[in-house]
Amino acid sequence: MAETHKKEVTKAEELAKNQREISVSEFFTKNRHLLGFDNPRKALLTTIKEAVDNALDACEEAKILPDIYIEINQKGEDRFHVTVQDNGPGIVKEQIPRIFAKLLYGSKFHTMKQSRGQQGIGISAAAMYGQLTTGKSVKITSKIGPKRPANYYELHLDTQKNEPEINKDTEIEWFPDHGTKVEIELEAKYQKGRQGVDEYLKQTAIANPHVKIVYKDPENQTMEFPRVTKDLPIEPKEIKPHPHGIELGILMKMLRGTKASTLQSFLTNDFSRVSPKVAKEICEKAKVYEKSRPGRIAAQEADNLWNAIKETKIMAPPTNCLSPIGEDLILKGLKKEINADFYAAVTRPPAVYRGNPFLVEVGIAYGGEIPGDELIRVIRFANRVPLLYQQGACGTTKSIMSTAWKNYGIPQSKGALPSGPAVLMVHIASVWVPFTSESKEAIAHYPEIIKELKLALQEVGRKLATYVRKKRLAEHESKKKSYIEKYLPHIGIGLKEILDLKEPEEKKMLEILKDTLERSRDKDEGSLSN
C-alpha cells in the first residue's frame, strides 16, 4: 500500500520540484529589449545614457554644476570600453555594490518629482549586459570628499540571486575632490549619425545648458560641449500623489501601508491637495466612515472610495515638482549647438494629465546653416533626456504634424512634417512621463499633452511667422535698392548726354529720383525681374 502511495506522486508535484523563483536578473537577461539592449548599437547608447543620467541627477541634487567626461575605446571589432566620469558628490562606499550590481535597486520608480532616472532600468542593467557579453566586471571609482580616499570596486552581478559579488575592493589615490567614475566593457557597435552616441551627447548639451561635457570617441577625437550658464536648474520638489491619478490597485496598497490611523487623515496626509474637508466629502460620497482604520478597509469599500474620488472636485496638483529648462536657456542651448538666423522658445505653464503635473516647452532654430530642402529636424526630450528612437510613434510628432505650418511660413504636405531650414525642439517635463511602451522611446498620446504641445507649437509658429515676414520684406527692400542702384546711374548718363547737364546737376537729380523711387510703394511691385 505504501508503495502505491509513493508511486502516486502526482505530475503536478513533480513539476513543482522544478519550479523555482526566477530572479529579476534572469528575466531581464532573456528580455534585453525591454531595457534598451536590443542591438549592439543601441546597447552602447543605453549604457552611456544610464551613466550620464545618473551623473546629472546626482550633481543636480548635490547642487554641483556638472562636468561630465565620456570616453569610448575600441578594444576589438565589436568590443568597446566605456568610461563615464562626473564631478558629483560621489557614492557612499556601502551603497556602491548594490547600485551597480543589483537590478531595480534604488531606482526612482514612482517618486513624484521630475527626474531623469525614472526612465531607465538603471546602470546595473548596463553592467550586467557588459558582463554577459564580455565576461568583464564593472569598475567603479568613487570619492565623496577631498579628505577621503577614493573607493575602487570591481563588481560581478549574480543573475540568479540578483546580488552583487565583489571581485575587488580597494582604496586608491584619485585626483578629483569628489565624483564617480564608471567603466563598463561590452559588446557593441559604434556608428555616427542620427541615433548614435555623438548625437545623443549633442542633444543632451542643448537641453542641459548648465552641463559641461567632454567626449572622446573611438577614433580618439575629442569634442567639448561647454556650458552656457552657471545657474543650476530649479530643484523640483517631491510631491505626494494626486488622488485623480491613482489606480485602484495602488490605492489599496497605500491603504495597507499607510501610517495614518484614520481614513480621513490617510487621505489628507498621503495625497496632495486633499484638505480634511475634502477628505470627509470623499468618505461621505463613498459611504465609508471617515474614522475607520485604513488597514481594515475591504476591497469593495476601497472600490467605492476610488469612485468617490473620481467624482470629487479636487484642486490641481502643485507644480513645484517640475523644473522647466526655461525660454532663456532653451535659446542659449540651441544657439550654442546650431548655427541659425532665428531662434524662438516657449515654455507653457504647467498642466495636468491623469493627476500628473506636466509642462511642455518648444524651441525652434531657423535659417542660417540649416539645410532647407528637406523635412524639418525634430529633437525630442523627456525630462531633459533626449529621445532618439521611435519618432514616428511619438505624441510630439503627431502634434507637430497636425499643426498648420503653412500659416507660419513653412510649407507642409498633408499628414507630414513641414519642410524647411528648421530644427524644432520639444521638451516634456513631468513627474511621470507617459510612454507608448516599456522601451520608453515615444511619448504617449494623452489628449491633455497633445493639446499643450499644439498650443506651444502654435505660439512658436507665430513668432517664426513674424520673423519670416520681416525677412521677406527686408529682402524685397534690399533687392529694390540694388535694382535702383544698378540702373539709376544710367538714367543720369542718358539725361546728361542729351541735355548737357553739369555733374552737380546730374548728381542732384539722381538723388531726388532715388528718394522718389525708394519711397514709392507701387501696386505692381511684384517680383523684380532681371
Partner: protein, 359 residues
C-alpha cells in the same frame, strides 16, 4: 535737325518731372492692327490713339535707363551725320555697364519704342535696318552723292546690263530724272530677271522694281517719291495668294500696323493691284496649287480684321472667289502659255484694262 530737338524736349520733360519729385513717364503709341484706322482719302494706316504709358518705377527702371541711353546715342549719331545698324547699336550698348542689352531683340524693341514715341522713321534717328531695299532697272536716273568726294553722281538705271540698281537704306537725299510712263513693282526676282533680260522696260517705257517679298521702308519710300514727285502710276505685280495680296501689296500701298506711326511717308496710296488677280486665274486658265491652311487663315483674318480690306468691297469679293476656288497661282505660272507670254500678251492686256485691276 528736328529729331534732335524732339529728343531734347522729351529728355527735358523727364528731367523736370524728376526735379519736381515726381515719377517721369514715357508715352509710346500702341502699334498693332487693332489701333489703326484707314481713310481712303488719306490712303494709309493711321494710328488711332491708344498709347502705352510707361512710368518710371522700380520694375521699369531698367528699360527706362536703356531707352534714355539709346536716345542719347541716337542724338550723337545724328549730330555726327553717321548711321548705326540695329546690330551695331546692340553692340554699342555693351559699353553701358548694367544697362547693356543681353540680346538684340531687346535692343530692337527699345529702338522701335523710341521711333514710335517720336513718330519718326528710324532712319531719322540714325538707325538703319539690315535688309536689302529692293532692286531697280529701267527708265530712271538717280542722282546720288559720291561717298568720297561728296559730289553729285548720276546713276542710269538702264546701264546695268542684266543687273540692277540696289536701293540704298537712306534715300531722302536722292533726286530723280525720268520719262517713264509707270512703275511696275514686282514680287519675285525671277519675274524681274525675265523682264530685265528682254528689255521690257524699254519697250513699255517704265521703271521695274523688284521688291523681293515684302517691300522695305526704303523701297516703299523710293516708289512713293517717284509716284509723288514724278506723278507716275504704280502697278503691283505679285503672286495670286493671300500673302501676295495682304503682306506684300497691302504693305506697299497703305503701310503696316507695326509702322503705323510713320506710314504716312512710307507707302504708296496711289498704287494699284495689276495682277495676278483671282479673276486672272479664271481668264487666263492658269495652273494652280491648292490653298494651304495657313493661306486660308490669312485670307479669313484679313477679311475680318484688316481695315484696308474692310474698306474695299472689291477685295472682299476677290478673296471670296479665291477661297471658293480653293487655289492660288504664282506670277510665273504664265510661263505655261510661253516663256514670254507675260511680256507679249499678259502685261499689255492688263495695262490697257483698268477694270481688271484691284484697288
Amino acid at each position: 535737325m528736328k529729331v534732335v530737338s524732339q529728343i531734347k524736349a522729351t529728355a527735358s520733360n523727364i528731367y523736370e518731372k524728376i526735379m519736381k519729385k515726381q515719377k517721369p513717364s514715357i508715352n509710346v503709341p500702341l502699334r498693332s492692327l487693332q489701333n489703326v484706322k484707314y481713310d481712303p482719302k488719306n490712303g494709309y494706316f493711321e494710328l488711332k490713339g491708344a498709347k502705352k504709358q510707361r512710368t518710371l518705377t522700380v520694375n521699369t527702371v531698367k528699360t527706362f535707363a536703356q531707352t534714355l541711353r539709346m536716345m542719347a546715342f541716337s542724338k550723337e549719331v545724328v549730330e555726327n551725320d553717321d548711321i548705326a545698324t540695329k546690330r551695331e547699336t546692340y553692340y554699342v550698348s555693351k559699353n553701358w555697364g548694367e544697362a547693356k542689352f543681353d540680346e538684340q531683340v531687346e535692343s530692337d524693341t527699345v529702338m522701335d519704342d523710341i521711333e514710335a514715341m517720336f513718330e519718326v522713321n528710324r532712319e531719322q534717328l540714325g538707325f538703319i535696318p539690315e535688309e536689302k531695299g529692293g532692286e531697280v532697272a529701267g527708265e530712271l536716273i538717280v542722282i546720288d552723292k559720291d561717298p568720297n568726294t561728296g559730289k553729285d553722281i548720276k546713276v542710269d538705271c538702264t546701264k546695268f546690263g542684266s543687273g540692277a540698281y540696289s536701293i540704298p537704306i537712306s534715300i531722302e537725299h536722292l533726286k530723280f530724272e525720268t520719262d517713264a510712263k509707270f512703275v511696275l513693282a514686282i514680287e519675285t526676282a525671277g519675274m524681274f530677271q525675265r523682264l530685265v533680260k528682254h528689255g521690257y522696260y524699254k519697250k513699255a517705257k517704265c521703271i521695274l522694281v523688284s521688291m523681293g517679298g515684302v517691300p522695305t521702308r526704303a523701297c516703299r519710300r523710293f516708289i512713293r517719291r517717284l509716284s509723288d514727285e514724278k506723278n507716275i502710276p504704280v502697278y503691283a505685280f505679285v503672286d495670286c495668294d493671300p500673302y501676295g495680296a495682304f503682306n506684300i501689296y497691302r504693305t506697299l500701298k497703305v503701310g503696316s500696323g507695326n509702322a503705323a506711326h510713320i506710314n504716312k511717308y512710307f507707302c504708296v496710296p496711289k498704287a494699284k493691284f495689276l495682277g495676278v488677280t483671282p479673276q486672272d486665274i479664271v481668264d487666263y486658265k492658269l495652273p494652280t496649287h491648292k490653298l494651304k491652311d495657313v493661306d486660308i487663315k490669312r485670307a479669313k483674318d484679313a477679311i475680318k480684321n484688316d481695315p484696308f480690306v474692310q474698306e474695299h468691297k472689291e477685295w472682299q469679293k476677290a478673296m471670296d472667289l479665291l477661297l471658293k476656288m480653293g487655289v492660288r497661282a504664282e506670277q510665273q505660272a504664265l510661263a505655261k502659255w510661253g516663256l514670254n507670254y507675260v511680256m507679249e500678251r499678259y502685261l499689255p492686256e492688263k495695262l490697257k484694262n483698268p477694270k481688271s485691276w484691284l484697288p
